[in-house]
Symmetry: C2
Subunit: 95 residues, 2 copies
Amino acid sequence: MPTIVVEVMPKAELLDPAGKAVTGALHRLGHSSIAEVRIGKRFELRVDGEVDAELLKQVEEVAADMLANGVIEDVIDVRVEPASAHGAGAAGETH
Amino acid sequence: MPTIVVEVMPKAELLDPAGKAVTGALHRLGHSSIAEVRIGKRFELRVDGEVDAELLKQVEEVAADMLANGVIEDVIDVRVEPASAHGAGAAGETH
């Protein structure tokens, strides 16, 4: 079952307080070569059936309208993966 | 400046209430071919200098220990991207 992966990141010009906190924690632990951490979101959309150009276009619109907040976030990637990379929605999951 | 991307997803066997809410919203909007949505995190770690095997190993440990909650989340990917895909930490950002 194909999966469409949508990646969303905070806009480059915005502060990312949670990312800043992680950066600080890494520095305190001695990982000084990590200059900056930014935290975004990864959506996995499991698709029934085939992914055609029409569906991908719909998902791109949904990503921009619903999955990202255009004021503070950018959709940086919408791509198809043949199967889920880590078993989200794996067989046997019934909830 | 290279960027290490860390991707974290909720474990497959766990409910993802936010993802379920998005799935429901998509169905109400007529996107019935999206069977399931799951929401995880994408971390971008901007690195000063080169990424060598030692640093990548450190980041893999940090990802498992700090960036993901091992009880409910899996680190599904740690990879190097030559430059940030969307300009996080772009020139001119001074905060």
